[in-house]
Amino acid sequence: MEQILYPLIGGIIIAISSSMVLGGLGKIAGITGIVEGALHRPGKNVTWRYAFILGLIAGGFIMYNAAPQFFQYELKASPLTAIVAGLLVGYGTRLGSGCTSGHGVCGLPRFAKRSFVATMTFMGFGMLTVFLRGVL
């Protein structure tokens, strides 16, 4: 039960945050979209992005200290894997206009066709990559 309960509650908390961003700021809470926009010169449409990213890090810091049980894992990747994965994720999410949050959490509930195709594609290729890692 716990196995399912935490993911379900966590998913709803993520949805509450993205609903806050839509209802408060009128924006779609896509993480890479926010990061991309934050890499522009400071201006009226940039500060909320800094604030959100700062919140992500601050929230991570709070959870890491207050609830370390959610961080019981090791990032086992080699430096090369981290670099290649980061480049693919950064480049790919901009070419594809979104990641798990923008297309998945915010796009699917709006029945956006592009988000449906994107989500199926990145989940499919994620599964394929893990499958190949298991076989090779």
């Binding site: 998913g11 919140g55 929230g59 894992y73 994965a85 699917l108 290729f125």
Partner: protein
């Protein structure tokens, strides 16, 4: 000012959700993507993250999209409706990177708080990837 505090708070809530859900944990993510059980038993738990989030937002977005946002004049939504090769190739690249590391962008940023060197390297490379796209995006429009 108050809207930026609101945004900061939304970011904190997002990080709490990512942590509680297990999305920050690459072992859980890889276990979920491993549907053929090549690295162990398939861990379906993370399907409930997306399920819970999508169902909640299905109801809240329907209401919020029609409302004027608290701190802005109108809601801005993506206008592009066309499924093109850029969407598919980009999403495929993202999927491969996600499968390699087990971390998507949000959890990558949350993991910065752990000061893990690989998380920092991943997020730094992600930023470089975003900038590389900005410098090469003209190429994709020509195709």
């Amino acid at each position: 000012m108050i809207s930026n505090l609101f945004s900061l708070f939304a970011g904190i809530v997002f990080a709490v959700g990512l942590s509680v859900s297990g999305m920050v944990n690459p072992d859980k993510v890889i276990g979920f993507l491993d549907i053929f059980g090549k690295l162990g038993k398939w861990d379906y738990a993370l399907a409930f993250v997306m399920g819970g989030a999508v169902i909640f937002n299905f109801f809240s977005f329907r209401y919020l999209i029609k409302k004027k946002p608290l701190f802005d004049t109108c809601v801005s939504l993506p206008t592009n409706k066309i499924v093109d090769y850029k969407l598919v190739i980009g999403s495929a690249m993202f999927g491969i990177g996600w499968g390699l590391m087990g971390i998507c962008p949000g959890p990558g940023i949350v993991n910065l708080a752990t000061l893990n060197p690989m998380a920092i390297l991943f997020v730094a490379s992600l930023v470089v990837g975003v900038l590389l796209y900005r410098w090469t995006s003209k190429f994709w429009f020509k195709l």
